[in-house]
Each structure stands twice: as C-alpha cells, then as structure tokens.
Symmetry: C2
Subunit: 457 residues, 2 copies
C-alpha cells in the first residue's frame, strides 16, 4: 500500500485552507466532545459520530517545522517519513500492512506547527491501531539502512513539489521574504541543501525531544463513547512513559514591518503568469478578541467564490483577470498569513493586476462592506461548518489542528458563534489595519523567454 503523506509548504497551504483549514475554525456546537488528560500527560479528545461503525484515530504532536533548529530545515517532515520504519515490536511495514489488510486508510502530515498520523478503520480495530501508534510514540528504531534511502524519497518529493514547480518555488521565496525573523519563513519540506545533510542522529534527537505523550494529543472521532476510549487509551497509550519535558513553544517573533516587498521569479516553464501576495496578520492564537473572526469574514467577502469582491471586480467587470481570490490561514501558533492571488488575462501585465487588486482592497477599506455581503459570508462560513461535519476525518482535524496551534476545545466549538458576532465595522477595520501593504510581500511569476527550459534533477 502506498503511504500518502501531506507536507504543507508555503504554497500548498493556500490550497489546503480552501479544502480543509477554513473548516478547522468554522466548527462546531454539535458534537458532544469530551476532553481529558492521561496521567502521562497525553491529551485525549473524543468526538462521537455514530452514523457508521467506523473510527478515525489520530495522534497529533505539538511539533512542526518552526520548532526545528536553524540549519536543520525539513527535519520534522523527514521524521514523519521515518515514523513508518518500525519498532522493536513491529518491524517496518507491519503497521501499514495491517491497515491495508483490514481495508483501512492511513495518512500523515507535517506543518510549521504540528505533525500528525491517522488511520480510519472499522471500530473493532481501534485498539489495535492504538497499540501500534502507542508503540511507535517512543519505540522507533532507526538504522542508516532505512534512513538513507528515505532521505532520497524526501529529496525527490522536494524535487517534484518545489524545485520543478515555479509556483511553489515563488511561494517559498515569498514566505521567506515575509518572515524577517520568525521560523515560519522556512519551508516545511526544508531547504534542499539542508535536507541533503539530515542524518539518523538528527532524526533520533528530534524524536526523543518531541515525541512523548505529554507533547501529544489523541483525537478519536467515530462510533465510540468517551468511556470506551478512556479505557482503551489507558491500556495502550497510558503505558508509554514520558521521555522528555518541554518548555513553552516560544519562537523568535517578527519586528515591526514597515516596507512593501516584491519577489519576482522568472522561469522558462511558466505557462501562465500569476501574482501571489501575503500579508503578515494575527492568527486565532495571537489576535485580540474579534480580530481573527473579522479577518476570516474579510477573506470570504474579499476573495472566496465568484461573488467575492476580487472576482466580481477583476474577472467579471474589468475583465483583466482570469482568476482572483483570497485566503486566511487562521490556525497558527504565531502571526500568520492572509493571502491574495490572481492570474491576469493575456495582455494585462502583473503590475496592472497588482494595482487593480490594491484598488479593490482600498475601496473595501475605505467604504466597508454591505450588510448583505456580511450576512452572506457569515451564513456560508457557518454552513460550511455544518457540511464539513459530515466528514469524520475533518471533524477530528479541526480539533487536532486547533489544539496544536493554541486553541482550546471550547474555543474551537465556539467558533461559529464567534463568527456570527462579526460586524461590518470590524471587517472594514480589519482591512484597514491588516491589509497594509507595508506588512506584505507580493510575488510575481513570469515566463522567462531568455533561457531554455531546464529541469532540475
């Protein structure tokens, strides 16, 4: 069975926000969520979902690329790959083989703030999954025989996802230019020259520091009760000893940003020029009361769907763009990104599109939003929350993703109600305060006609 792992570097986050992350925040009063902590410090969240006899079993570690030591970029993601290399009790391949044999699904993912592993299986297999996952929480065995080939796998992944993708490469450089000081400037997949030097010792040291029950959250969604899960968790994870004590996650913060930045990448492989801009803005964890909610609504009014300001103005009215949108990466332990992007029509230059985007934002910041826009955005955000609950893994992801980026179970559950309180003035003020170009980097992707196409190997 092919293991699918999701790494979330700069540019993919934008996509992921649309597919998964926006719903993280748009949760949930509905399910009867239980939250408790085992004696060894493992937090447990149980989300009952009794429609089918299936469970989603996830373990989230409070560690991601932003927790790496400088010079070791890509280590969190590399370790995620290595977590499939077996323990003394369960040699490499056995865990995945069992998941496959019973018709389950598995996955793993790394972001700047967290690393997670999950399986979706029939409910009677839950304990077995817990045993496997508890075993590899501290029991991983790594030899150079398995580490070195896996490094080549990761390098090939970097090659496919970034080195051979001008859009992704530009995204990396925009993010590096946005964060002057914070490690969020570092790509989750790592800088290639640093990935190349990662070793077994690096991976083991990172593992022993961060993979410990007191740094993890177990999230179970599905056809189970909290009592059942508690008993099973104590029998499995409860036996895993704490292997380290971790200080609070304090990363270097950004200085006051005062300059407008651009990054221009020209590449012969570019078929279609495009523009991507990121602003440094507060996340749910760092915002003052109401700010993150207003930014969320703003991102929808400005740039979500075909009724949004950017689309109606640039694509439909002015007909200078073929696409335009905005996104807000709301869940992030430290200050995060608000993104705007667009693709010009032929014969429209990127600076022209850039100016037109500025005008749309300036108009919103000046005149504010209409009552109708506000209501539509809020209704859609709340509705998305409800639809998204249909997917068990999404439900589990909301809580895991929120809790590893500074939110509480209560805060996550209250999000739809928090969205409902947003006023038109708050949305306008968010645009005025945070969509300040002096806190932004604009990336331009252009076709390089001077150089022949080159493929990096």
């Amino acid at each position: 069975m092919k293991k699918i792992r999701i790494v979330l570097p700069a540019v993919f986050l934008a996509v992921l926000v649309c597919c998964l992350c926006a719903p993280i925040s748009s949760s949930i009063a509905a399910p009867d969520v239980t939250h408790f902590t085992l004696k060894n410090g493992l937090e447990v969240v149980v989300i009952p979902d009794r429609r089918t006899p299936v469970v989603t079993h996830m373990v989230w570690y409070r560690v991601g690329a932003a927790d790496e030591e400088p010079g070791k970029s890509g280590l969190a993601h590399f370790l995620e790959h290595l977590m499939f290399k077996g323990t003394a009790k369960n040699p490499a391949g056995r865990f995945s083989r069992v998941v496959g044999t019973i018709g389950g699904q598995e996955n793993a993912f790394t972001s700047s703030d967290y690393t997670g592993y999950y399986q979706r299986v029939s409910r009677d297999k839950l304990k077995e999954m817990m045993e496997f996952e508890a075993d590899r929480m501290t029991g991983l065995v790594l030899t150079d025989d398995v580490v070195k080939p896996e490094l080549n796998v990761v390098l090939e992944e970097q090659n496919q996802r970034v080195a051979n993708s001008p859009v992704a490469k530009l995204g990396e450089e925009v993010q590096a230019a946005l964060y002057l000081n914070h490690p969020y400037g570092r790509p989750v997949i790592g800088w290639r020259h640093e990935i190349e030097k990662l070793t077994r010792d690096d991976a083991l040291a990172f593992y022993r520091k961060f993979y410990t029950p007191n740094n993890a959250i177990l999230v179970i969604a599905g056809d189970v009760t909290a009592d059942e899960v508690k008993k099973l968790a104590e029998e499995t994870y409860g036996k895993v000893a704490r292997v380290s004590e971790l200080p609070p996650r304090k990363r270097p913060q950004e200085p006051e940003q005062r300059s407008v930045r651009t990054v221009t990448l020209s590449d012969p492989r570019v078929a279609q020029p495009s523009l991507q801009r990121s602003y440094l803005v507060p996340s749910i964890a760092t915002a003052k009361a109401g700010e993150a909610e207003a930014l969320e609504v703003l991102s929808h009014i400005l740039g979500s769907g075909t009724n949004c300001r950017l689309y109606t103005t640039l694509v439909m009215q002015k007909q200078i763009a073929v696409s335009a949108g905005a996104w807000y990466q709301n869940s992030s332990l430290d200050d995060t990104r608000f993104g705007v992007s667009g693709t010009p029509r032929p014969n429209v230059t990127l600076p022209q599109l850039d100016e037109a985007i500025d005008a749309v934002i300036a108009d919103l910041a000046d005149k504010g939003v209409t009552a109708d826009e506000l209501e539509r955005a809020k209704s859609r955000l709340v509705a998305e929350t409800i639809y998204a609950q249909d997917n068990q893994a999404t439900l589990a992801r909301w809580f895991g993703g929120g809790m590893t980026t500074g939110s509480t179970v209560e805060g996550i559950r209250a999000w739809p109600d928090r969205i409902k309180t947003v006023t038109a003035d708050q949305v306008r003020d968010a645009a005025r305060q945070w969509l300040d170009k002096r806190r932004s980097v604009t990336g331009f992707l252009i076709k390089d006609t001077a150089r022949p196409e080159e493929k990096r190997s």
Copy 2:
C-alpha cells in the same frame, strides 16, 4: 571619558567598507608579522611598528551577531556594552578611567562575525592593558543593577541609529530579505522587540560560552617585539583558563536564490529618495580561488570614486543621479554582500535609476573592462594598502578582522599579490556570474507625503 563603540548593522557596513574594510583585504607584505598560540589556545598576532613609542592592543572574539541564538538578536552587541561593567578585581569604570588618565584611546565593536575591544596607549602601559583585558576575558561580574540601565542605553542607540533613520531601517529590511535562511539577515544591533527582552542571564550564558582564550585573538601592533609580547602575554592572558570548548562555526546557509526582490520603505522624514541594492556573493572565505579578488576589483571599477562606471555614466554623462557607487564586503565567514547604491536627481524616479544601473552592469558584464580600468583599479587597491599601513589601528584591524572571518595571516599578507593577478576576463566573469539580479534585493526609499512625520521614542 565617553566610551565609543561601533556596532555594524546592515547599512553601516557599506560606510565601513569604504573607510576601513576594503583595506582589511588590501594588505600587506611589509610588516614582519608574527603569529603564535598560547597553551590555553589564545592566538597572538604581533605587528611591529616602531615609528612612535605607542601600541595598539586589541582582543578579538570569534563571535558576533550571527552566532546568537534565534530570538536573542542584539545579544553579542549588548554583551559588548556590558564588558565595561567591571570584574571582582577591577570594579566598573576603573579600566576606562586608567586609559583616560594615561591619555589613551579605547573602543569596542561588534559585527555579525566578531566582537573586539581595543586600547591605544604608550608602550610602557601595554602590560597594564593586557592585565585589564585578560581579567575581563572570564572575570566579568554582572548584576541587574548594571544590566538594566545598560539595556536602555542600547535601546536608545537602536532608536538613534535605526528607528529614527529611514535609510538604516531600509537597510535592515533589505538585508533581512536578502538572507532567506542565514543569520546574517538579522541586524547586528538586534530587532528592537528582542533587545527589550535581553536579560542578565542571557548575557552571562553568552559570555561563558564564547569568551574564553581559545576563542580569542590578541593583536598587538606597535613599538614591541614578538618576544616581548610573548612574555607579557604568557604572564597575563596565559593565566586565563579555558572555560568552554567550541564547535566549528557552522551557520545555516542560503538556499539557491532564484528571484528578484524589492523592498520599498516610504517615510515622511525622507528628504532625498535613494536606492540601495545588495547581491548575495562569495566572501574571501567562501570564494573559489580568484573570485573574491575579482569581486574586489569589480567593485572598484563599477563603483568607487568619480572615475568609476556608475559615477561617470549616471552622474556625469546621463545626469540622472547625484551620486552612485558600489562596495564589496569581502571579509565575512559566510556568503556576503556586494552593494550598489544611488541617489536620483529631482524628477528622476527610482525605477528609472534602477534601470539605468542595470544597464551599466549589463554593459560591463557584456563587454568586460578595459586594460586601463583594470590597471587603475589594481594600482589604487595596492596603493591604498600602503597608505593604510600608516595607521597602526588599521593594520591591527586587518589581521583581527581577517582572522575572525576565516582568513589566515598568510592569506591576509598575500592579498595585494592576489589582487595583482586579477585579469579583465575574471572581472567580467564575476559581473556575469554574481551580479545576477535573481541573487539580489533592491531597496527603494521614498518620501511618504500621505502621513505626517512621526518620531518613534
């Protein structure tokens, strides 16, 4: 006596290159330099200069801002200030008072790669200086009573030098945008919000890690012999025990850079718009044979004096600039910066100046330099070396600065001969390879007419 300390953040380096650093490299076959190491690991360089009965006494530590832990920016420079706060044997103020009383001079300075302290005194006071400096190498005593007020001094320095200077603030952001991964992106003086949080414990931990005889270089220039210095050094510094062992200085390196970047700062206090561009280029320590020498000659042909390409083309012929120049920060442990700057005439925009600079560089990269230009640049570089030897402190600085950034005594002494071997083809190739805009950040400083002048406190 007022203590003068030099901190070298982004923008000041450019100035320093012109005044001091270029000569660092343009040294010296002349003086009979001796180099030896004491048993405790302290390296000693003696540069006889018998014209007057004066000595320059310098201690250089192989530690600077790029060696700080992320989140503690400004710590190397803050510790430099705190080094004047006294020891158990010599309470605060005594050392400086003695230097003043005997009519000496003293100074201290911090860069990304080194921290140094020096006194210039009559030769009979050398041993006393060595005793003082050896005493504070490991004997510093710090209490909150002295640390906290000094933090305010440093914050005021940041305020004067950076926060209230739009040129310097732009320089900081250009440097942060140039270095995507390497700590050279961090200002030497520190980010203000991080300076504010520096503590006595931070300073002491940094001191105990890096201030040890095996991490220092003693440079003595003046009316002394190597034998005299050796005897005195053994009697003073020789008694200082090693307090730590340090690993090689390996900082996170830059990924391959592929994008053209701009940083625009608009500020109501700007009297005169200007442009500053930095390219990421090899330093003496990281270059292949001949490359650093070619970059040095290139910087002179392109942008030094009023006969250089930028000045003659932009100021004299096209009359679109009031000034234009270039510099190369040759001594740097890791990849360094090649800078180009200009100030437009009224009614010339910064993008126009930017394009005109591009054209000058493209022409040089295309057609190369003339035999006459090459000879003039090389002669002037060698001549500067000879003139500069007239200043004892400059001589000492060449060796201290070179040796803390990866050069050897032999390499430093051979520099003028290395410059003499540079060919016209090498200069053209250096321009082609390294003055690639995809390895650069261009900063634009413009007057903000929309906002009233604000003074940050």
